[in-house]
């Protein structure tokens, strides 16, 4: 399933081998996700909490009649949790990334367009054992993009839901 999704996203690559990322900030660090995985950015969130759910699941949100699950990306990235404030935003993902869900971020940034050559992907070692490979699956980072003045850590949006499952 995941492989198929990756193929579809790579087929939609820009012909000039450029890629766009939606950047955001979490606890002072700069992260980014592929803009093609993002469906929408939402402010003025009204969360409905789920009592028996794990702490990574912040609750449900109603967007124009559709209910979406919102995850706490801080907890997923092993930061400490933080209450929602004015600059907090919710990133909703495409249905091909996961079934109607989004993540809560501290502050939204710009849309960044970079050359393919500036991105360094993390290599997957095929020789690893089964348990190690499972552990690798939980790794949310896909690679690092070198910007002019800083590094942008690129996250894989399709692994967020499975990460919640693995943590449990």
């Amino acid at each position: 399933m995941n492989k198929l999704k990756n193929i579809t996203s790579e087929q939609k690559k820009l012909p000039e081998s450029k890629r766009q990322f939606c950047s955001f900030q979490m606890a002072g660090h700069c992260f980014g996700v592929d803009i093609l995985d993002v469906k929408e950015i939402i402010d003025e969130v009204v969360l409905t909490t789920i009592h028996h759910a794990p702490s990574e699941m912040l609750g449900f949100v109603n967007i124009r009649g559709h209910v979406h699950l919102v995850l706490d990306l801080r907890l997923l990235l092993n930061f400490s949790s933080k209450p929602i404030d004015e600059s907090s935003r919710v990133l909703l993902f495409h249905p091909n990334v996961g079934e109607s869900f989004g993540v809560m971020v501290d502050q939204i940034g710009h849309m960044i367009e970079v050359e393919e050559s500036l991105i360094e992907y993390r290599l997957t070692d095929e020789n690893l054992s089964g348990i190690a490979r499972d552990f690798r699956k939980s790794e949310l980072e896909k690679g690092v993009c070198k910007l002019k003045d800083r590094l942008l850590i690129i996250l894989d949006a399709s692994k967020f839901l499975s990460a919640v499952e693995l943590k449990r």
Partner: protein, 602 residues
């Protein structure tokens, strides 16, 4: 006898001279004797020397003759014998050497060579010839030709040293004897000198003692008596007895003459003494009279001077009164001028006070004006405060508006982000739209920044307006205070104006009174001037009286001076008589008891 008299001095001196002469003579005699002795011994020694020289010569001759005789005997013996043996020669030579003076002998042949020789060292030794070490040249030699074939010549060597030594020793012995005798004689002479010295001392001492004794007995005792009399005379004691029984005639005559002289003097001095006493008594009485006179005249003078002083005092007092009256007149003039001045001053004060009252009323009006202005200022300040509060409200509203703008900017931002996302999902078809979306995003960010700026500035404005408000409140309160104080000032000024008006009326009254005083003081000054003239006339009269009294006093003092001079003359006389008495008093005319009685009578 502590003080040695002239006689003893002469005696001691002459004794000393005699002793010195004796000692010197003694020393000279002894020296002469010693020189004689030395000469005698020297000539004796010379004689001895000559004698011994002669003796030595004689002895030498005798020895030579004896030896010649012996050799001649030997020659005769040899010539008388026909045959001579060698032993004979030896025997002969030994015989020759038996003589104590002969030291060596040798027999010579025809050629003069010796064939047999003998000499004395420790004992007699023989050889063909004499050894070389024998010193022949220092010895005497006798040469004889025999004339026989066997022996041609005999040489004989001898010395006379032993004889000479013997003679020299004899000579030494004799000379020593002579020297010994000389030293003995020296010793004896020294003893003689000592004996002579002691003897001369003894003789001189005896002579001196006898002389001193006789001099004291015959001359010194009478002279001592005369000296005692002279001592008493030196004390001016004429009542002395002169003893004229002396052993020597010359001294007797001297003491008699002295006694007569003393008697004459005694009589003269007694007369002088009596006269001096009388003179002194009369001078005393005169002095007393003169003193009395002086004291009386002094009394009169002192009284006169008292009167003078009193009159002077009176005159002085009257003068002082005249001066005082004049001073009063002057003072009155001063007072009159002062009162004039005072009158002028009071006049000017009254004028000044009127001016003051006028200006005070002016001040009161001004203060009222000030109060009105302050009330107006309070009203204006309150208005301004209201305006400021309105301004603050407006600023608050602007803050709300800017917040709204910021919210809109946020929304726009999210909208632009979403647009970008949509454009990206549209792929190459959405490229143009994505540019528009990014522009919108930028615009949204700018508007957000502008809204933030506005908010910050509005906060500043709000702060400023609140500060202005408080300041306006302070200003209005101050103006209120000012208003209150100016009201109190205006009240005070009105009161003061009233007081000043009262003062002005009083000053006018004072002005009039001062004028009255001035007039009356002028009258008073005129009358005082008259009084001053009258007192000056009285003072002149008093002065006249005082000068006359002074003339009287001067004549009295002249009298006193004359009496004083008399007194002084009497004192001088008294002093002179006293001096005379002092001069005469030391002479004692009679025995001490009588003298005492006379003094008591005085």
């Amino acid at each position: 006898m502590k003080q040695t008299g002239i006689a003893t001095k002469i005696i001691l001196l002459s004794c000393g001279v005699a002793l010195l002469l004796m000692v010197v003579g003694c020393i000279l005699v002894v020296q002469y004797e010693m020189v004689l002795l030395n000469n005698m011994t020297d000539t004796k020694i010379d004689e001895k020397e000559e004698y011994f020289f002669y003796l030595l010569h004689h002895e030498k001759k005798a020895v030579t003759q004896q030896l010649n005789k012996q050799i001649n005997d030997l020659i005769r013996l040899m010539t008388s014998v026909d045959i001579i043996y060698a032993q004979t020669f030896e025997f002969q030579i030994q015989m020759i050497l038996m003589h104590p003076m002969v030291i060596a002998a040798e027999f010579c042949d025809k050629k003069g060579q010796s064939f047999l020789a003998a000499w004395q060292s420790n004992k007699v030794e023989m050889a063909t010839r004499l050894p070389d070490n024998l010193d022949i040249k220092s010895l005497h030699m006798i040469k004889k030709n025999i004339g026989i074939p066997a022996v041609e010549m005999i040489r004989l060597y001898y010395s006379i040293d032993t004889v000479r030594q013997k003679i020299i020793s004899m000579k030494k012995k004799e000379i020593d004897e002579i020297n010994e005798t000389r030293t003995n004689i020296y010793k004896q002479l020294r003893g003689l000198f000592l004996a002579q010295a002691i003897g001369s001392f003894f003789v001189v001492g005896l002579l001196g003692g006898v002389l001193i004794f006789s001099l004291r007995k015959l001359i010194l005792n009478p002279i001592q008596n005369i000296l005692q009399v002279a001592k008493q005379l030196r004390k001016l004691d004429l009542s002395v007895d002169i003893n004229s029984k002396h052993s020597s005639h010359e001294l007797n005559l001297l003491s008699l003459a002295l006694g007569e002289l003393v008697d004459g003097f005694r009589k003269i001095i007694a007369d002088v003494k009596e006269n001096a006493n009388m003179l002194s008594e009369s001078a005393d009485s005169m002095t007393g009279i003169a003193e009395e006179l002086t004291s009386h005249s002094e009394d009169a003078e002192s009284k006169a001077s008292d009167v003078v002083e009193a009159s002077m005092q009176i005159s002085g007092n009257i003068h002082a009164i005249a001066n005082n009256v004049e001073q009063i007149s002057d003072n009155m003039d001063d007072v009159s001028s002062t009162s004039n001045f005072l009158f002028n001053n009071i006049n000017s004060v009254a004028n000044a006070i009127e001016e003051l009252s006028a200006s005070l009323s002016h001040v009161g009006e001004r203060v009222k004006n000030g109060t009105q202005i302050a009330e107006q200022a309070v009203l204006l300040a309150q208005k301004a405060g209201k305006t400021v509060t309105i301004l603050r409200h407006a600023a608050d509203e602007i803050g709300g508006v800017s917040e709204f703008i910021q919210r809109i900017a946020h929304k726009t931002n999210i909208l632009s982000l979403n647009a970008t996302i949509e454009a990206a999902s549209a792929g190459s078809a959405g490229r143009g739209f994505s540019v528009v979306a990014s522009a919108i995003q930028e615009f949204a960010e700018q508007s957000s920044r502008a809204a933030k700026d506005i908010t910050e500035r509005i906060v500043g404005v709000q702060k400023g307006t609140s500060e202005i408000e408080t300041a306006f409140k302070d200003v209005s309160s101050i103006i209120k205070e000012m208003n209150e104080s100016s009201e109190s000032i205006s009240f005070a000024v009105t009161e003061q104006t009233k007081a000043v008006q009262e003062i002005a009326s009083n000053a006018l009254e004072a002005d009039e009174r001062a004028r009255n005083i001035n007039v009356s003081i002028d009258d008073l000054s005129r009358s005082v001037n008259d009084a001053a003239e009258n007192t000056a006339q009285v003072a002149m009269g008093a002065n006249d009286v005082s000068t006359r009294i002074q003339g009287v006093s001067e004549s009295i003092s002249f009298n006193r001076q004359i009496s004083h001079q008399i007194n002084e003359a009497a004192i001088v006389l008294n002093h002179l008589s006293g001096n005379l008495k002092c001069m005469v008093d030391p002479f004692k005319v009679s025995q001490p008891q009588k003298n005492y009685q006379k003094r008591s009578k005085k």
